[in-house]
Each structure stands twice: as C-alpha cells, then as structure tokens.
C-alpha cells in the first residue's frame, strides 16, 4: 500500500478515528464486532443460497437467477462469497482486493472522492484496510466505448447480529462507456442489530454514463452510514436512484457528485418511506464546478409512525453557465413523525441558474374524498395516494432497466 501511505491516507484516518460525523446520531463503533475477512466460504452459484436469503436479496433488486444481468457480486458480512464476471465482455466485476492485484493503477482511485478523514466511519474503514489489506467491497468497470444495457448487480448482506460490515467500492466508467448498477443492501431476517459502512467512489471518464440504483432493506436495529463520492469528467452523466421503504434504526448519508467536467450532469432521485422509529437522514449534493454542468436533486419522502426524515439537498454553483434544480416533497402521515426538509442553494458566481421547490404537508383531504367518492375505502384511498406520491418517474434508464426498476419500486411500495 505504498501509494496510500505516501498520500497519508492512514495518517489522516488515524487522526479522524474519533471524529464525529457532521450529521446524524453518533454511533459507538466499538459496540459492533469486526468480522474476519473472508471467513465465509465462496459459493459456486447464487442458486445455492437458502430460500430466505434469495427472497431477501430479491427484495433489494438482486436476482439470484441472474436473468437480465451483466454481472453479480455478493458480499456477506466481511466475505465476498460470490462474483460473476463472465456475463459481459464490456464489464469487469470483481472483489476490490482482486482488482488491486490485477491492476496496479486501481490504488489511485482509492480515497480520492471520499476522504479517509471525513469522519470516524470512513476512518474506521481505512484503518481496517491498513490492518487487513483492501479486501472488502467491489470493483466494477465498463471498458472504453462499450454500452452494456443490462445492469451489474451488487449486494451487501449482513447475516449475523452485532456485525460491523465495511466495504470499499470503486466504480469506473471508462471513456464513452455506459454502465448500469443495481445495488441492494439487506440484513438477514433474524439480525437484531448491526452496522454497515459502505465507502463508494465512482469515476466517470469523458462521455460516459453511470446509473446507480440502490435499494435498502435493513433490519430495524441497523445503523447505516454509506459514504459516496462521484467524480464526473467532461460530458458525462451520473444518475443515482435511491429507494428505502423499510424500517431501519438510523441511516445517514450525503452522497456528493463533483461535476468537474464541462457539460457533466448529475441527477439524484430518492424515494424514502420512514416507518416505525427510523431516523433517516439522506441528502444529495451536487457541486457544479465546470461550465455547462447540470445538477438535479429530486426527493419524495413519507414519514409514518414515529419516524423522522431529514431530506437534504445541496447544490453549489462555483462557475458561470451552470444550472441546478432541487425538488423535495414530503408527506407527514402521523402526529408522531416528522420531516425536516433542508434544500440548500449556493451560488458563488454570476450568471448561473439555480432553483428549488419544497413542500411538506399532510395527505390532502380533497384527494381522499375524491377516491372515496369512487367507492374506494378511506384507508385504501390513503395508501393509493401515498404510493402514487412516492412512485416518481425515474428518468434516464434504458427501457429494460426502467421496467425492472419500476418493478422494484412497486415491490418496495407494496408495504406502504
């Protein structure tokens, strides 16, 4: 790990190991167990998983039959138990450790768009890598000039109680290539409490496109701290879709896209359903750092039961001729739940265009009455309105994937 040492990654991490995150409840990492890397055996086929796990994976968009997929990756706890890299000539899928052995240059992509000293969670991930080597997480890359419309599926699964799962993912779309990912995160049914820290760094070379669709389905006592950075070069497009409709203890993430290339474009679309006493603090940030860059942050949030949702969006324009729009709509369904919408616009240059709209409220009585006047019972009317509200049109996906994504959303909204 010479390069990382030279770049002071580990020193920085060491200094930040107790640094609280700027947002979200402070989690005591020491309450969770570091699982040994690759303690679990590899499996030959996703079909070998037990029935319940298959079901859990399907809920987060990971299809164990691998139909309509261009690659698969599965990490359970701290073990990469399955990788399928043979499905597409355009795409490479492998464990990050394998990638580092194969390509010396992969090191240059580590800890670049996510900083090791961002907070104690990134620091923990880096320090674990210092000790054990960079072995957890995936590496996905689309080769130059290729357009694979089928998605790669990647899954992080926690199988046992009290585990701290860390992962470090690197995703690269080479010049003029297109890459689609479906990533699911889930816990086994019987897992009471656990923690997940996922560091993801994405790089979009000129003219490339990545769509990244993530579905979360955690157990009720899981602490989740994803840390995501995306770097966009000239004429590249990044589309991030995030779906969370099941209960969780706390989740805090604020993925950031750096539109450093001319005419680059980043879109974040998120659907958040807060249930039970979940505390969901999810935002998206786009830094518009180059001429012609565009950013869009769209979120729909519904808070039920005693849940709390912080819906954040931050657009920052630093140069002229950039455009950004932020849209945050929330529904509060119970007196004990709450939504705190924080749309932020930051303009530090003349001649740029940024706007936001935010609206938080209860379900409109007129809408309920309208549906009941068509013979629909009140409770069903409310649920139709909530599902309709959350069911946003996800843009930017190829047709095949759009349909699958819609199915995933429908499945997630079924329980709402």
């Amino acid at each position: 790990m010479d390069v990382l040492s030279v770049r002071n990654v580990y020193d920085d991490a060491e200094r930040a190991k107790d640094k609280k995150a700027a947002l979200g409840a402070d989690i005591t990492i020491e309450n969770f167990t570091d699982e040994t890397v690759n303690a679990l055996d590899m499996i030959d086929d996703l079909d070998d998983l037990n029935k319940q796990t298959k079901k859990d994976l399907l809920k987060v968009g990971v299809d164990t039959t691998e139909e309509n997929r261009s690659g698969s990756f599965l990490q359970v706890d701290q073990s990469n138990i399955f990788t399928n890299n043979t499905m597409s000539d355009s795409i490479e899928v492998m464990n990050i450790g394998v990638a580092l052995d194969k390509y010396s240059w992969v090191e240059d992509y580590l800890w670049n768009v996510v900083k090791p000293d961002a907070d104690k969670y990134t620091a923990k991930t880096a320090l674990r890598e210092k000790e054990e080597g960079v072995k957890s997480g995936y590496f996905v890359r689309s080769l130059p000039g290729t357009k694979e419309v089928m998605p790669v599926q990647a899954c992080m699964f926690i199988s046992d109680a009290d585990i701290l799962q860390t992962a470090h993912n690197v995703i690269i779309a080479e010049e003029n290539s297109e890459l689609h990912l479906i990533t699911g995160c889930a816990t086994g049914d019987d897992v009471a409490s656990a923690m997940h820290v996922g560091v993801s760094e994405m790089y979009l070379k000129p003219g490339s496109k990545i769509t990244f669709t993530m579905v979360h389905n955690w157990a009720e006592q899981v602490e989740v701290r994803p840390r995501t950075g995306v770097k966009l070069m000239d004429d590249s497009t990044y589309i991030n879709n995030y779906i969370l409709t099941s209960p969780v203890s706390t989740i805090q993430s604020f993925p950031t896209a750096y539109c450093d290339g001319k005419n680059s474009r980043a879109i974040f679309q998120s659907i958040q359903g807060g249930k039970k006493d979940s505390i969901i603090d999810v935002g998206s940030r786009v830094l518009l750092n180059a001429e012609g860059a565009r950013g869009e942050v769209i979120s729909r949030a519904v808070a039920q039961d005693e849940s709390q949702i912080y819906a954040r969006g931050h657009l920052a324009g630093t140069v002229p001729d950039v455009k950004g729009h932020l849209e945050c709509h929330g529904l509060v369904l119970s007196d004990d739940s709450f939504i705190y919408a924080v749309p932020e616009l930051e303009a530090s240059s003349a001649n740029l265009e940024m706007s936001h709209e935010a609206a938080v409220g209860k379900i409109s009585e007129d809408e309920i009455n309208y549906l009941t006047s068509r013979g629909i019972e009140e409770e069903e009317a409310e649920s139709m309105i909530v599902r309709g509200f959350l069911n946003m049109d996800i843009t930017g996906l190829p047709d095949e994937l759009a349909q699958q994504t819609q199915n995933m959303i429908d499945m997630s909204l079924d329980g709402m």
């Binding site: 009455n369 006047s373 068509r374 013979g375 629909i376 009140e378 309709g388």
Partner: protein, 251 residues
Amino acid sequence: MLLEIENLAVEVSGKRVLKDINLAIEEGETHVLLGPNGAGKSTLFLTILGFPNYKVVNGTIKFKGQDITGLTTAERVKLGIGVSFQTPPSIRGVSVGDLLKIISHQDVNEELNPRMKELAQQLKFSDEFLNRDVNLGFSGGEVKRSEILQLLAQMPDFTMFDEPDSGVDIENVELLASEIGTLLDKDKPQRSRKRSGLLITHLGYILNFVSADKAHVLIDGVISCSGNPSEILEDIRKNGFNGCVECAQCL
C-alpha cells in the same frame, strides 16, 4: 322513492349552510338544482355523498329506503350513488386507467378491459391519456369527460352532476350530454327508466340537451321553489334569482 331527504340541516366548519331541505327523487327521474352562488348547491351534493366535513345536524337522507345518513362515502357509493365533480383534485401517481379498473372491479395489474377502452374512445380519449395521472394538467373539457368516463365505468343508480358543462366547448357539450343521457337511461322510454339524477347547472345550457323532470331553486340553504324546469328557468332568466327570493318570501 329512490332518494328521500327530510328536514336536512347541515353545518360546515360550524356554519349552518343547509337549513331545512326536503327533496324526493323517484326512480327514473332527473332533477335540476338551481340557485345563486353560495346558496348551498354543492354542499347538498357533498352531504348526500357523505363527505366528513359536512355535518348533518338534523334530518335524514334515505336511499333505496335505507337511512344512509351515518354511512361513509364509500359505503354510499357502493349502494349506487355516483358524482361528477366540477373541479376535482389531481392525484399524482394515480392514473385514470387505474381508477377505471378499480371502479369497474377489475384487477389493477391486468390490462384495462376492452369495454372500458371503447368507452374511453367514445369520449375522445387515447390509450395514452389513460396512463396520465388523474386530473393532473387536464384541460377543463378533459376533466369533465374524465368524470363522465369514470361514471360510465360505475353506472350508478343515482348520479349527481355538478356543473357538467362549465368550461366545455359547444362541440363537446353535446357529446357529454349524450353520455349523461346514457347514465340517466334517457335512451329508454320514460316509463321504463330506472336510473335517476340530480344536475347542478348555473346557466341551464345543458338542459337544451338533457331533459329534466323537475327543477328546484336553492336559496340561502332552503329550497324556495320546485316545479317545471323550463318554467322556472324562464322565470330566472327574466327576473334573476331575486324573483325566487321574493317568491320564497311569499311562501
């Protein structure tokens, strides 16, 4: 008697809007409800429908002989009451097609049945239109036609129409009127008509195309006069609702 309202008094947000309404509609009859703005016409509709904010403080509403005053809206609709709204709300993520399926008791995951598609075409709607969120960005005419289409899927025994022709161009008024006719069994001889209706109309223009058996004038929460629709309309055209006010004072 299909619908029978006796001594009905209704409060909305603590204010008494309807004072003492008596109204009876027989099977197969179409009645018209006239009256100035704010007289309580829509309140009467929404009370018959059973919307939660319309509090019945006195009187009863009977439908098909059953006291429905305490029933929920959905329960009343299931008994055979239908309504077309003047300005219905738009609902994101709920399509016209979905509503048609639910109303016609079809599985939402199945394709819309051919009969509904045919009705949609009859009302000049494309298949694409059926995928649109209900009322979202609809033109005035589209709203009215979509309301009538939903009613055609439902085929209620008793239908209330709130200003079905407002904001509709002349060409489409006839189309709408013909479908309203279907909902009111107008294609059948008077004696064998089963379906009934109550129409709110401001100008009475729709009555050129839909025949009515009886008209009522609602003023200040009270039905001030009832009678032959064309005679009453004629009076109102000549003397305005002021004539009705004076008339009510004579009563």
